[in-house]
Symmetry: C2
């Protein structure tokens, strides 16, 4: 036999079992988004490269999958272009289109392109794959799904509250215990203003984040290494050692940031959200949360699973000018993104899938031959009409093989009709888990399966 | 404002309304597939070009979207390769991957790659987009979804019967009246054998298909133009004028094809399927159905909408050696593909969407300010806990604007709480269709919305 075919590295096939689990994740998120009034959109896999380039930094540009122009892609390309060896320049001539890198930029493009049709504020969600030419490694893929929801066209902090509630609803449906960490970019700006070190704010949050692990002295040593002066470190002490309830932290920070209008505004925003959130998941003001993406301007948040060691499984925040890149300034938005692949890992690790998620076919009719199958077909039709997922084994092969098939597919019930059953107008139902059998009529079979 | 951004030609954005309708189509097909014991898989958007090339004919190869290798894509490409100007040769050097062109070849690749994990017969369905660098035109897109189901690893004609039942179930759920045309490639082979003109079988079916429109004399004239002799045309007369019930047609054909073993086998296959199919949709033996794809070897079928002028909206058939191209011969399969875009057009034209499909948010809470909203938030939470899709308008803008938003989004009910309601512990519910208002308590509001 020839060599087995394969798929590009960093991509995946999803078989029936994985798909059932993934659908459970996507459907749960989808249902909750809809429950909160979000509407789904989809955008094309391919965008014009002019839409994508320059939106993800220089590194991001390199990670875009580019699509070779169709037809005579060399037309109009001179010898010089080919010879220079500048791949960036040549790629731009060879390719007009690229695969989307995330759902955020296509969404911004969508809002600008369709602005005349949209009723703002616009609550949209989008669940689609994205592609990145990243070096594949464990947990990092070249094709993966994003599950984003955003509200654009509203400055109201009620939107942030709603997103926190969405997090709580989704993870309580999954049965995953989570903690939501929340912060505000304006608070971080306030801290930077206060100590006069705007460029060091990320280093500072990284150092402070280690307090539990390395202790106060080592944190301060690290701040010193980061180039902060003794007076700056001194000024940071209430922040480094910040603890207590959300109210206590807010209260300390109000004093620390008393001189920073921006900082105080950030604290007010947090106060608004924290006081209105009602959920089972803990919502915690965490000053060390910074989030990398520099388009965030207000509240930011991340979700951690309590019972599994894994990075953030959901995150998001407020941005003030997403559509500005496409010439439509002044539209504020706030968004959230569920990390489906990590949620999948958490659900697997904690074995939290409801049983019905992974049961595909509920009932298999064994095939003893044409006559017996003809007897079964109307019962099969009745079962399906009653909503029971059912099938008939298509070939009259050995019963053992048919039973193996039922087991391999995880089918919990098997129906059999031989001469006796046909004479009595009955059917034998076998419970594959217990091995129990009962000779019953069709309507009782359907009643039992429905339960 | 800058020029509006756009998307590549032949691709589409799907807004909330279109998505709601498309989801209704995909979910209906998905549910029916699952009801019949089919399990979902997904394959990557990108396949190795070695998997795709040569599977769709020369024309197909040209219509593949190819992905530029990432990194230094010129490495290893000599000046000669660049200068020759043979785009096919150069494309193969520049690109290792391409976007999938259909779901059939990736499925064949999947079966071969995962053969050790699969319990045969394998019933899989797959609903994913495909990409073709076709010239875009009305109704033809460069990105579109396919909704395929196939059974591989079983020769049984019960699989064909099941696919017919799936067609009937899907379209009866949609409320679309359809006719299923069925034929068998073996019957066509038999006819070709009988008159000794294997290469003319497509011309013959095309000519016969025109009988109703142009009459017998003109059909025979066309057969003459196609190069058939008078004796061949004479032999074809019982076929050209074939009419009556399926049984009558089968009976005539059994005499016509009495000398062709292959032809008789095809008629037996049709007899098996026709006699076991039970459904509301008419299933009609149609000798003029040929279907273009030459990998079909047995039963073939197409579905026509009765009340809309449009091409085939679903089709499929039996193939005997799909996985042979990947070195795994002897696996028979039979498949079906629903044309989602055409079904969308039919549903639109006949206006057959259930109302609940297109209602997103069911209830909007008007925002009169922080105090009023704080009063509403617990009721909003209760409503959602009861499964009601609800939202609060995030900003305290003029009521008129909020009502316009409700209308634009098609929200049927609006809830309002001002000072009076807050004092009485009530809420005013407004029916946006009738304009009726009622001041009720939260539990009654939820009861009414649930109905």
């Amino acid at each position: 036999m020839a060599q087995k075919p394969s798929i590009p590295k960093g991509t995946r096939d999803f078989g029936p079992q994985e798909m059932a689990r993934r659908n459970y994740i996507f459907n749960t998120i989808r249902e909750v988004y809809a429950l909160y009034g979000f509407q789904q959109i989809e955008t094309p896999a391919m965008e014009n490269l002019s839409t994508l380039m320059g939106k993800y930094g220089e590194e991001g540009d390199k990670l875009l999958f580019k699509i070779l122009n169709s037809g005579d892609f060399l037309r109009g390309i001179g010898e010089d272009d080919l010879r220079t060896g500048a791949t960036g320049h040549l790629a731009a001539l060879l390719c007009e289109k690229g695969l989307r890198y995330d759902l955020t930029v296509p969404f911004a493009r969508y809002v600008v392109q369709h602005r005349d049709e949209l009723a703002l504020p616009f609550r949209r969600y989008q669940i689609q794959p994205v592609w990145r030419a990243d070096r594949p490694q464990k947990g990092r893929y070249r094709e993966f799904y994003q599950c984003d929801a955003d509200v654009v066209g509203s400055d109201s902090l009620l939107n942030e509250v709603e997103l926190m509630q969405i997090v709580d609803t989704v993870f309580s449906r999954f049965g995953i215990r989570v903690c939501i960490k929340i912060n505000d970019r304006k608070v971080l700006t306030g801290i930077a203003e206060m100590i006069g070190a705007a460029d060091k704010i990320v280093d500072i949050t990284v150092a402070i984040d280690k307090l539990d692990k390395i202790g106060l002295d080592n944190v301060n040593a690290e701040l010193r290494e980061d180039g902060l002066s003794e007076s700056q470190i001194e000024a940071l002490q209430p922040i480094v050692t910040l603890s207590g309830t959300n109210s206590e932290k807010l209260s300390v920070m109000r004093q620390v940031l008393a001189q920073s209008q921006t900082g105080l505004r950030g604290l007010e925003e947090l106060q608004f959200v924290l006081s209105r959130y009602k959920g089972a998941a803990q919502l915690e003001f965490d000053l060390t949360l910074a989030r990398g993406l520099n388009y965030y301007t207000g509240c930011i948040f991340e979700v951690k699973a309590m019972d599994v060691e894994i990075g953030s499984i959901t995150g998001g925040g407020r941005y003030d000018n997403l559509t500005g890149i496409f010439g439509m300034p002044g539209i504020s938005g706030v968004g959230i993104s569920f990390g489906a692949d990590r949620i999948y890992d958490v659900l697997n690790q904690l074995d939290l899938y409801p049983q019905e998620v992974t049961t595909a076919t509920q009932l298999l009719f064994v095939n003893f031959g044409d006559a017996e199958t003809d007897y079964c077909l109307p019962i099969l039709a009745q079962a399906r009409a009653a909503g029971i997922r059912a099938e008939v084994y298509p070939d009259a092969v050995k019963v053992k093989k048919q039973m193996q098939y039922a087991n391999a597919k995880g089918i919990p019930f098997v129906a059999m009709a031989g001469e006796t059953e046909m004479q009595q107008g009955k059917i034998t139902l076998k419970d594959m888990a217990t091995g129990e059998q009962a000779c019953i009529d069709a309507s009782e079979l359907i009643d039992r399966l429905r339960r």
